[in-house]
Structure formats: structure tokens, C-alpha cells
């Protein structure tokens, strides 16, 4: 699903975020990308989304080489990647239902498909009853569930989460992890970048540990370490 070969990213000011990364993530895997803040986890996620370009190396997502992908094709790449962030990125003036529906509206899905798909995914994340609430009427965990619903509503083959539990208390975080796990079992490849030690340790999934831009450990059924 994701393949990186010799990927480096150097930001202006000679700040090295990623250094010669080689990695393979297979279809259907559940992977934690761990490491302290500022070790290149977000850079990793942004590279896959082609929000930024690598300074060196090649990145393949679902068999396609990203540097050869024109600007106008990037949106179609992103339709295959669901995205979840620490700050949820919900629109405050839209209800849960509308926030999720928005993701389908802007890619031109017909209305009847939107209605059934949104209801279904809200049921999956456990928010069917709160579909008419606005984000400020929901708890942090519930807001993150809305954002996961939005990321998954289109059933993308790949789901990326960048510090999804950063703003959420530990008990709620575990619920979110179970949700990611359920999504993973539906066939979607899940990559979660996090520095939430407890969560990683309790899940026993593949762990890729980054430190100062390098992969220092890649372990199946691993723990956070150190």
C-alpha cells in the first residue's frame, strides 16, 4: 500500500525531518508510527498525502509513484486516503451529519448515496443518535469520531491518522483505537502516527519507531519501547 525508497525531507534552514527512509506497508496492515514530537511523523503523513514533496527518494502509494502525479491528479489520490487529525478539522457551522456529508458532496457524489453512506458510517462510529448535533455540542472524543466517520465514509483503502488522540483523555482514546481496529478489519490499511505509549502498548500492532528522522525499529506486534 505504501512504499518508500530512500526518502529524505530537508526543510529550509537545513532542518532534516526524514533521513533515507525505506519502508513497506502492505495492504490491510495496521501500523503505528511512533516517536517523540519533531521526529518526522507528520512529515511522513504529509508526504503520503502529497501535501509536500520529498527532497530525495521515491514514494509509492497503491502502486503509484507520487512525484509523477500531476497537481490536478492529487485530489484523486486523496479520495483514496482517509485522514484524521489531532484538531478534528470539523466545520463548526455544520452538524455531524453535514460534516460527514460534506466530504462526499465536494467530490460530486449523488444525494441518495450520500444519505445512505453517511447514516451507515455514523452508525459504525456510534454517533447515529447525535447526527444533528453541532461540533461544539459534542465531547472531544465524539468530535474525533465524526472526523473518523468523515475519513472513512468513502471506504478508502488507506486511513492515515496524525496524533488522533492528542487532545483526548486515555479512556476515550482506547475507544477510538478499537474503532480504528474495526475499520482495519473491514479491509482498510490503517497508519496511526502517535506518541501515546499506553495505546500502542495495549494494541500490539506493528510499530515503526522514528528518531531524528530515521527508522530505529520496525517490529511486528511491537510496543512503544524505551
Amino acid at each position: 500500500m505504501i512504499k518508500m525508497r530512500g526518502v529524505s525531507k530537508i526543510y529550509p534552514g537545513n532542518h532534516i525531518a526524514l533521513d533515507e527512509i525505506n519502508v513497506d506497508i502492505e495492504k490491510g496492515e495496521f501500523v503505528f508510527l511512533v516517536g517523540p514530537s519533531g521526529t518526522g511523523k507528520s512529515t511522513f503523513v504529509k508526504l503520503i498525502l502529497k501535501e509536500i514533496e520529498p527532497t530525495k527518494g521515491k514514494i509509492y502509494v497503491a502502486g503509484r509513484e507520487l512525484s509523477g502525479l500531476g497537481r490536478s491528479k492529487v485530489p484523486y489520490l486523496r479520495r483514496n486516503i482517509g485522514c484524521v487529525f489531532q484538531d478534528f478539522k470539523l466545520l463548526p457551522n455544520k452538524t455531524s451529519f453535514e460534516n460527514v456529508a460534506f466530504a462526499l458532496e465536494v467530490i460530486g457524489k449523488p444525494r441518495y448515496i450520500i444519505r445512505s453512506q453517511v447514516s451507515e458510517v455514523l452508525k459504525l462510529v456510534g454517533l447515529a443518535k447525535k447526527q444533528d448535533r453541532y461540533p461544539h455540542e459534542l465531547s472531544g472524543g465524539e468530535q474525533q469520531r465524526v472526523s473518523i466517520a468523515r475519513a472513512f465514509v468513502n471506504h478508502p483503502p488507506l486511513l492515515l491518522a496524525d496524533e488522533p488522540t492528542g487532545n483526548i483523555d486515555p479512556a476515550t482514546s482506547m475507544g477510538l483505537m478499537k474503532l480504528f481496529n474495526r475499520i482495519n478489519r473491514l479491509g482498510t490499511t490503517v497508519v496511526v502516527a502517535t506518541h501515546d505509549k499506553e495505546m500502542v502498548d495495549s494494541m500490539r500492532k506493528r510499530v515503526i519507531a522514528l528518531e531524528t528522522g530515521r527508522i530505529v525499529r520496525d517490529q511486528a506486534r511491537g510496543v512503544y519501547g524505551h
Binding site: R71, R78, E105, R111, R150
Partner: protein, 296 residues
């Protein structure tokens, strides 16, 4: 597809309302620029219909005194024709001059009634050979005829020349002013769109994340810019209609022999071009704003 179009238009209108002041500033500037363009084009049209023919018609007229005799006239014609620069020298009798004047002024019959007798002088219409159509030739002709007492006045092309010189200066000033106004209009539209993009930055971020196509994100802003341009053009048209009825036609009533108006067809063409220019200004403005503030 229909869904998308109505979405674009709806979004454009919402954003329009949200940035009221900026949009109004942009529209006003477009309106003023387009009004000036229209106004000057109308002036230029009037100018061309009034004076344009002077360039191609008789190069020089030699007006004769009232007292001139037929012999003198024939002699004068020979003198003129003997110059190597001259191609022809056509005699225009007093009667012929009056007839021409009447045809030219047929739109203002009142003026003709005021004429008693025939005040117009006889003249020679001197046409120079192609290669000699210069002020020099006029000077030579003037030299040759300066001792002839039957000649009253020589009106040469320098009058026309001066007129066209003034016109070309006016044209440069006009082009500069219009250029600056268009620049201001585009800048204001860029600003209005920038604000619109800023107001929707969160939505745009999410749209990009979930894979909305670039054009889907761009259209509402382009429509907003072009709408500003079109409303500006519409306003300019209203202003021009007012100017036409209040100014040009009033001038025409005061000075009847200067027909100071543009015919309907030309007016329609002008208005159409204003709408096209307005739309272009809007499109260029939003295009620049998108390039600068929406990196997709």
C-alpha cells in the same frame, strides 16, 4: 453537474454578502473604469465621424475672394496644376459649395433657413500626388500663391494635422488613465477574493483533504470575481445611458450642427464590449488571487 453549478453560485453569493464592503469597492472601480472606457470610445467615435474624412478628402482648400473673375480662376487653376506636386485642382463654385453644405447640414434645417443668400466662397480643392502629401507641399503651394490677390485663404492639412496630434495625445492620456483604473479594479477584485478565500480557509483545507478537485474549489471564487465584473459593467452601462441623454444630447440641442450622438447599433456594441471587458477584469482578478492565495 447541475448540483455543482448551483453549489458554485450559492457559495459565490454567500461570500459576496460576507465581504460586502470589499465587493462594493471592487464593483465601483470596475464600473468607473468601464464608464470611462465607454465615454471615451463614444467621444472617439464622434471625433472620427466629424473629422475622420478630412484626412482622406481634399488635402488643401484654396478659398477665393468674392470679387474673383472667371479669367482669374482659370489662370489660378493653371498655376496650381503646373506644380509637380499637384495631382488635381477641382473648382468648387459658390453654388456647388452651398449644395455641399446643405447636404452636410440636412439634419439641422433650422440652421439653413437662417442663411440669407450664399455666404460661402468659391474654392479649389487641391489634391496632392500620393508621394507629396506632406506639410512641405502645402508650404510650396502657399509660396506660389502668396502674390495672387484673388486668393483669400489657404486652409491646409496642418489644421487636420494639429487636430490629429491633439487626438493622439488625448488617446495616450486616455489609455493611461484607463490602464490605471483597470489595474485598480483588478487589484480590488484580487483583494475581495483574497478575503473570500480567507473566510473559507477551513472549508478549503477540508475540501483538499477529502479530494475535492481543484476546479471544484476554484469555481465559486471565479464566479464571484466575474459577477463583480458583470455588475460593474451593468452599472457603467447605466451611467453611460445617463451621460448619453443628459450630456451628449443636450450638447446637440445647444449646438445643433455638431451631431453629438452615437447611433443605437454602436451603443449596443459598446455596451457588449464593456460587459466582456468587465467579465475579463473579474476573471483576471480572481485568477490572480487564486494563484497567489490558494496554492492548489
Amino acid at each position: 453537474m447541475i448540483n455543482s453549478v448551483s453549489y458554485y453560485v450559492k457559495e459565490a453569493l454567500v461570500s459576496f454578502k460576507r465581504n460586502g464592503v470589499m465587493s462594493i469597492a471592487a464593483i465601483s472601480t470596475v464600473a468607473i473604469s468601464l464608464f470611462f472606457i465607454g465615454f471615451f470610445v463614444i467621444l472617439a467615435m464622434i471625433f472620427n465621424t466629424k473629422f475622420g474624412h478630412l484626412e482622406t478628402e481634399a488635402n488643401v482648400s484654396v478659398y477665393l475672394k468674392e470679387t474673383v473673375t472667371t479669367d482669374q480662376t482659370t489662370g489660378l487653376q493653371k498655376t496650381i496644376l503646373s506644380m509637380k506636386e499637384v495631382e488635381s485642382a477641382k473648382y468648387i463654385s459658390k453654388g456647388e459649395a452651398l449644395k455641399r453644405f446643405k447636404t452636410r447640414m440636412k439634419d439641422s434645417p433650422g440652421l439653413l433657413d437662417a442663411l440669407s443668400g450664399n455666404p460661402l466662397p468659391a474654392s479649389f480643392e487641391v489634391k496632392f500626388k500620393e508621394e507629396f502629401r506632406t506639410p512641405d507641399s502645402v508650404d510650396k503651394l502657399r509660396d506660389r500663391l502668396k502674390n495672387k490677390e484673388e486668393v483669400d485663404e489657404i486652409i491646409g492639412q496642418e489644421v487636420v494635422k494639429r487636430l490629429f496630434a491633439i487626438a493622439s495625445v488625448a488617446r495616450w492620456i486616455f489609455v493611461t488613465v484607463i490602464g490605471l483604473l483597470c489595474f485598480a479594479a483588478i487589484t480590488l477584485i484580487v483583494n475581495a477574493i483574497r478575503l473570500a478565500i480567507y473566510a473559507r480557509r477551513k472549508e478549503i483545507e477540508i475540501m483538499r483533504l477529502v479530494g475535492a478537485s481543484n476546479w471544484f474549489i476554484r469555481w465559486p471564487f471565479i464566479i464571484e470575481g466575474m459577477t463583480s465584473g458583470l455588475i460593474g459593467a451593468f452599472t457603467a452601462t447605466l451611467l453611460l445611458l445617463i451621460a448619453n441623454s443628459q450630456l451628449f444630447q443636450r450638447v446637440e440641442n445647444i449646438v445643433p450642427f455638431l451631431s453629438f450622438s452615437v447611433d443605437q447599433t454602436n451603443f449596443v456594441y459598446i455596451v457588449l464590449s464593456l460587459f466582456i471587458v468587465g467579465m475579463l477584469i473579474g476573471a483576471i482578478g480572481s485568477g490572480l488571487a487564486l494563484r497567489k492565495f490558494l496554492r492548489i
